[in-house]
């Protein structure tokens, strides 16, 4: 007989790893959240305790001392064998590395990238504007953050096409839980980064402006970062910044294509775009969960947690929790507390690239709508989404030329 409770917690069997029609994952997530405050999900080998309400999820992110990133995804706890930095560090060690990186991702630093972000965005839009249609995901939404990532590392955006192929291959292998394929894709990427880092060792730039030079010159407790650590940081930034931005753009453009009034509001008053970005992040989080691993037995409300338990922090469930956000499934440009969404996580591990992501999304919304204000999803398209970490494989858009 299937277990109905696990250590006193109701058991759920919802599978969040499949490919489904678009928005189906949000429906399943909302349903689980309203079924019980806490659930134990038994669909993975280790299972996981689900925190689903806004207040619980936020507290979960803040419990960083006992709930560590030894597991980063409740759905793929064993992909955590793949080293990532700074995520894999916790406590004081994590803070030291974040302090080296923070200055390149702070709003002030990101603002310095804005002219370049605009220019590259305009170039990519102008390539497709005259065609009257595109697969928004493949022809725009992944190319833009890839080019921005290369620029952040001081690498030529002309490498974007090749780089994109490697990174896509690597990321899809990781999500599919296929370590052999992931390792093959990873070696091409690491060798590319290795060349870039060595070039910067030979020809250092200003470490205040150039992140790779800063990584090469940085000392933590008087010890320089190893080459492997620097390469792992580069790889982590790539993994964190490309698929997420592509996916966010996909959900935003699916929404705007299907909701012309919301689109018109942004065209009429582009000053609303930063607010729209926050509300889109709240409404359509792609990383719909984060994982943590319990280090010491602990009672959290009604949950009795043991060492080694996997905890699920339900980001999308928090962002769509009606206890926190009124009419949570509505896009509301004037929502007073939209900024409190947890799409970028919280606590010391909150997304390092959040300000860069905000800039990229804002620039795309501004520049695209100046050039292509009217567009629609190609008739007859059935949009589908990938589980684990949401993304659309394809979003065909059409417009008049």
């Amino acid at each position: 007989m299937t277990e109905t409770t696990h250590r006193g917690c109701p058991v759920a069997h919802t599978d969040f790893t499949g490919t489904t029609p678009i928005y189906e994952h949000y429906r399943m997530l909302d349903q689980d959240r309203e079924e019980a405050r806490f659930l134990f999900n038994d669909t993975t080998e280790r299972g996981f305790f689900m925190l689903q309400r806004y207040d619980d999820v936020r507290e979960g992110f803040q419990q960083h001392e006992n709930w560590t990133t030894a597991v980063r995804s409740a759905l793929r706890p064993d992909v955590s064998g793949e080293p990532l930095l700074p995520q894999d560090l916790n406590g004081a060690e994590h803070v030291k590395l974040r302090r080296i990186l923070n200055q390149f991702f702070a709003p002030a630093a990101v603002r310095r990238m804005e002219p370049m972000a605009q220019q590259r965005c305009i170039e990519l839009i102008e390539e497709i504007q005259g065609v009257g249609s595109c697969d928004f995901v493949a022809e725009f939404a992944i190319r833009y953050p890839t080019d921005m990532f290369l620029a952040l590392l001081g690498l030529p955006v002309s490498d974007g096409e090749q780089f994109l192929e490697w990174s896509d291959d690597y990321f899809s292998a990781l999500l599919a839980g296929d370590p052999a394929r992931a390792a093959a894709a990873k070696s091409s990427i690491m060798s590319y980064f290795d060349d870039a880092v060595n070039e910067r060792r030979a020809n250092p730039r200003d470490p205040k402006e150039d992140m790779v030079t800063r990584l090469v010159e940085a000392r933590i407790d008087d010890v320089p970062l190893t080459q492997d650590e620097i390469l792992t940081i580069c790889l982590t930034l790539m993994l964190a910044g490309l698929d997420t931005t592509r996916s966010a753009l996909g959900y935003i453009y699916a929404h705007l294509a299907n909701n012309p009034a919301d689109r018109q509001a942004l065209i009429d008053d582009p000053a609303l775009i930063p607010k729209a970005v926050e509300e889109f992040l709240r409404l359509y989080p792609l990383v719909f969960q984060a994982g943590r691993e319990v280090q010491e037995p602990q009672r959290f409300e009604d949950l009795k947690l043991d060492t080694g338990d996997v905890v699920w922090l339900g980001v999308a469930q928090a962002n769509r929790d009606p206890r926190k956000f009124e009419n949570p499934d509505q896009f509301d440009l004037h929502r007073p507390n939209a900024n409190q969404h947890l799409a970028f996580g919280g606590g010391p591990h909150r997304c390092l690239g959040m300000h860069l992501a905000r800039l990229e999304l804002k620039v795309v919304l501004e520049e695209w709508h100046k050039r292509i204000p009217e567009y629609r999803v190609a008739p007859g398209t059935e949009l589908r989404e990938r589980g684990v970490q949401l993304s659309m494989a394809s979003l065909p858009l059409e417009w008049e030329v």
Binding site: P107, Q340, R350
Partner: protein, 72 residues
């Protein structure tokens, strides 16, 4: 009224100084420069202080009728 920003809870989300630019500022790492402080605010900025409190994903900011300022 007073505004108080808990340094331990601030994680540099940058929402507060985005919505309260006349009251708060950012440092080089993206944290609010005033974190760890509690101070009296003029009436004209109470609205921005409340917006900042409502914008913080960590719940690090409070607007208080009575408080002991840190730099009194």
């Amino acid at each position: 009224m007073f505004i108080s920003i808990e340094a331990d809870k601030c994680m540099g989300h940058g929402r507060c100084y985005a919505v309260a630019p006349d009251l708060l500022s950012d440092d080089d790492e993206g944290f609010v420069a005033e974190r760890g402080r509690c101070w009296s605010i003029p009436d004209a900025l109470i609205g921005q202080a409340e917006d900042a409190a409502d914008a913080c994903p960590e719940g690090a900011i409070a607007v208080l009728a009575t408080a002991t300022p840190t730099d009194a």
